[in-house]
């Protein structure tokens, strides 16, 4: 608002001023609405952001951020010289990319399947149950995963061996582990992920279906030509948001589903940061990695938004 006022006083031409006045007369309500959330962002999000300078300082807990010495880009050099940084970066990309291919479409498909169910009761009950995994913490999921997929003690391998097959090292061989990792991800998040799509599906124009029925279109055709296009904006929004997170990855899932035997694949940036940053107290290095992730994430989200706008017309900005 201050900025608006100052520009206002600078205005000379009466016509210009008049235009401005009508603009604000018309739009002040929107600025009023925005003011509180913006204040929130300034205080709670931008307020602590001076902490970013830790990346350029030899951070000493007791000297505080301002009291610590500047070291320029030294910490960046240190991180970029670490072998583990590249391995964890590669793994982060790899796991996120696989998730994008496998776990991103899963809720879309599931939501459409739920939408196609005719029995309202079955629909209601199954929806409620599909969300349950989202509420179970990874610690508990981890325990269950070991009980199911262990090589010697796991139930699935017990069954396989009972049928005369070789045991599969689902958790200790890195490629099988990838499958297990993806599977648990789909299992945990697909149901929860349907919610947004179901909300979007409520906006589908029923008349289109009636018209298609008259034309004798098959169910799959209707899904392809009516259902999917109507949730396209939601898909695009979520896809862009997801692409923005390509270099960031949650801590719990790779940490808990991962184990030392598959460390080659399961060690990701978040576990790396945890190790060097929180456990070893090297906040400077952790901040450097965080800054790197932020810059790459920002480039990804703006880039994908740009491409999406050009090709589909939808975007988040």
């Amino acid at each position: 608002m201050t900025k608006a006022k100052s520009t206002l006083t600078q205005m000379n031409g009466y016509g210009e001023l008049n235009k401005r006045t009508t603009y604000f007369k018309r739009y002040w309500q929107l600025y009023a609405l925005l003011s509180l959330p913006i204040l929130y962002f300034l205080i709670f999000r931008y307020g602590p952001m001076y902490g970013v300078q830790i990346a350029f300082k030899d951070f000493n807990l007791f000297q505080g951020i301002n009291g610590s010495e500047w070291i320029g880009l030294e910490a960046f050099r240190e991180v970029f010289a670490m072998n583990d940084f590249y391995i964890t970066l590669r793994n982060t990309f790899m796991l996120n990319f696989l998730d994008l291919i496998v776990s991103f479409p899963a809720p879309i498909i599931l939501a459409i399947m739920l939408y196609e169910i005719r029995s309202a009761r079955f629909k209601r009950i199954s929806q409620t149950i599909l969300y349950i995994p989202h509420f179970i913490s990874w610690v508990i999921i981890g325990g269950i995963v070991y009980q199911l997929f262990g090589t010697q003690s796991g139930m699935i391998n017990g069954l396989l061996q009972g049928m005369g097959f070789e045991a599969i090292p689902f958790l200790t061989e890195k490629n099988s582990w990838l499958v297990t990792y993806l599977f648990t991800g789909v299992w945990q998040s697909a149901g929860w992920g349907t919610i947004l799509y179901l909300a979007a599906l409520t906006g589908v124009n029923k008349e289109l279906f009636e018209a298609a029925d008259v034309d004798g279109a098959s169910r799959l055709r209707k899904i392809w030509h009516i259902t999917l296009p109507s949730i396209k904006p939601t898909i695009v929004t979520l896809l862009i948001l997801n692409l923005g997170r390509m270099v960031s990855i949650g801590f719990d899932r790779p940490y808990i589903i991962g184990n030392t035997a598959v460390r080659e694949y399961s060690d990701v940036l978040s576990t790396f940061v945890y190790r060097i940053g929180l456990e070893s107290g090297q906040y400077t290095l952790a901040t450097v990695v965080g800054l790197f992730q932020a810059v790459v994430g920002l480039i990804f989200i703006l880039g994908s938004n740009y491409i999406s706008k050009k090709t589909t017309g939808d975007g988040i900005l």
Partner: protein, 531 residues
């Protein structure tokens, strides 16, 4: 929109963000840094002061107690606080998040308790290195006669760095650490004697595998193993050559720097590839599967923390319930070819946690007085065990907990172990007394086995070297190396025998690259200085 305009917007955005940012950080006082004057002797002027003491919160406070207000906090207030005109305030810290939280508290200066503590020596070194701790040497001389007597020079040494007393180490009641258990009924069935050397153990395990005395088929696990220290450390310690006398480097991740470490890995590789150890050990960091396998009677031999399986309704009791005919014996069998075939095994240092007084604390005198009070009279015993006659009775100088006491009475000391920070375990007197006091806490039927376990665990032990200066590489690389150690163990153990050499060399090279080499250099230098 044109590229040009976009750039313009971004520029403006950046400008506004910076302004906003500066405004707010000015508003919030720009963080910490100001430690207005360190220790003062505030108690003299007769004003009532507040002493803040950290306490671990494990979320196990029984109603109506809370972590900040319970029988023990009241006891402290009444016995120590009121007579000294001090309000003792306890600051709970979640047990599993202690370091993260402590770092943040330290950085905030004003919120940090006057007494804090950690178990992790590298955290202590880091704090000392960054100049955040009070040197309490003089304060102890002046205000802590009981404290000094209780800890003794040997334990105090753990908190000294370059002649300055930056921490007050707690005292460990018992240094016994690991021992081994074997299924005696399996041995009897095969008519074999208990193994007495590593080679004999290997033969015994092979017999367990081939002859399957438990009749278990594919469930048979000759030796139970988990990716936990009690699983791999006893094996490693039975191969490595001590650095000097009966001493090794103190940190777990320093094990690979000892001669003989490779042989240990080779042995584990052999055990794994011949199917003699738990095949899923790399998944079992919490020993849950191991406990399961053992109490279901599938395991022939394990190494464990002393007493770990002997608690009431614990692993052994469950095994007896599941298989009434089973019998377990404590044995000593891992002999070290690199140390005159002795039964070398790790023991704990005589210190417990590192208790520290932050430099920003204005109550360092009161803090030392509090610790001195805790070390005097019966206070430590009361804080860990409760009131004599109500919570315990003395038998031959050993406090025996009254099992028939009312729950309400027992609940008094539910967090006694966490409040009595000066002691790690129950410190009653000398080692032997402490051991006996510990033993009588076990169920009657397991006490004899407990005594044997302790005897085994105390044989041919190897302790940690204590340097009087911090090893910088420990603070810097400790966590990463600790993580790498697990990778070395798992990868070397699980490699195909013909690939062992290559895998081991690759992982060790990595270990050296990420800080191991630097650590080794520093350790050797420190060793020389120490003479």
């Amino acid at each position: 929109m044109t590229g040009n305009m976009r750039r313009g917007v971004m520029k403006k955005a950046a400008g506004a963000v910076l302004t906003a940012l500066m405004g707010v950080s000015l508003l919030s006082g720009c963080g910490s840094g100001s430690n207005e004057g360190a220790a003062s002797d505030g108690s003299g002027d007769g004003k009532r002061v507040t002493l803040k003491v950290e306490v671990f919160d494990r979320g196990n406070s029984p109603s109506p107690h809370t972590i900040t207000n319970n029988w023990l906090t009241q006891y402290v207030q009444k016995e120590f606080g009121d007579p000294n005109n001090i309000d003792v305030e306890f600051v709970p810290v979640q047990r599993s998040e202690e370091t993260t939280k402590l770092n943040v508290l330290m950085a905030s200066a004003s919120d940090v308790p006057d007494i804090v503590f950690v178990y992790d020596s590298s955290v202590f070194y880091r704090y000392a290195q960054q100049g955040g701790l009070t040197d309490v040497g003089e304060l102890i001389n002046e205000h802590g006669p009981n404290l000094k007597e209780y800890l003794g020079e040997e334990t105090l040494k753990f908190g000294q760095l370059e002649g300055q007393q930056f921490a007050i180490p707690g005292k460990r009641a018992i240094t016994a650490r690991y021992n081994s258990y074997i299924r005696q009924d399996w041995l009897d069935k095969l008519n074999m004697p208990a193994p007495t050397t590593t080679d004999e153990l290997y033969e015994t395990l092979k017999a367990f595998k081939e002859k399957d005395p438990g009749g278990l088929g594919s469930k048979n696990i000759p030796m139970g193993l988990a990716l936990a220290p009690s699983g791999y450390e006893p094996l490693i310690y039975s191969f490595i050559k001590p650095i000097q006398g009966d001493l090794t480097y103190s940190q777990r991740y320093e094990l690979p720097l000892h001669e003989g470490f490779k042989e240990a890995m080779q042995f584990m590789n052999k055990l794994y590839n011949e199917g003699l150890v738990s095949q899923d050990f790399s998944l079992d960091e919490e020993e849950e599967q191991l406990a399961k396998d053992f109490q279901n009677g599938n395991v022939g031999f394990i190494t464990e923390d002393v007493g770990q399986i002997l608690y009431a309704d614990g692993v052994l009791d469950n095994l007896k319930k599941n298989l009434p005919d089973s019998e377990v014996a404590a044995i000593d069998t891992l002999t070290n070819p690199n140390a005159d075939n002795k039964y070398t095994k790790s023991r704990y240092g005589s210190n417990g946690m590192y208790i520290m007084i932050p430099k920003s604390s204005k109550r360092s005198v009161e803090a030392v007085k509090y610790l001195d009070w805790m070390a005097s009279g019966d206070n430590l015993l009361t804080m860990s065990t409760g009131v004599e006659g109500e919570n315990y009775v003395m038998e031959d100088g050993i406090p025996v907990v009254k099992e028939d006491a009312a729950q309400e009475i027992k609940d008094r000391v539910y967090n006694g172990g966490d409040m009595a920070i000066l002691a790690n375990g129950k410190v009653i007197g000398d080692q032997e007394t402490n051991e006996e006091a510990w033993t009588v806490g076990f169920p009657k039927q397991n006490q004899e086995l407990m005594r044997q376990s302790i005897a085994v665990a105390n044989t041919d032990t190897i302790g940690p070297i204590v340097f009087d200066r911090p090893i910088e590489a420990e603070a810097k690389y400790g966590t990463a190396l600790n993580d790498k150690l697990k990778v070395i163990i798992v990868q070397s153990t699980m490699a195909k025998p013909d690939q062992f050499e290559a895998v081991y060399e690759r992982e060790m090279k990595d270990f050296m690259n990420i800080g191991g080499a630097e650590l080794q250099k520093e350790l050797e230098q420190a060793l020389q200085e120490q003479g």
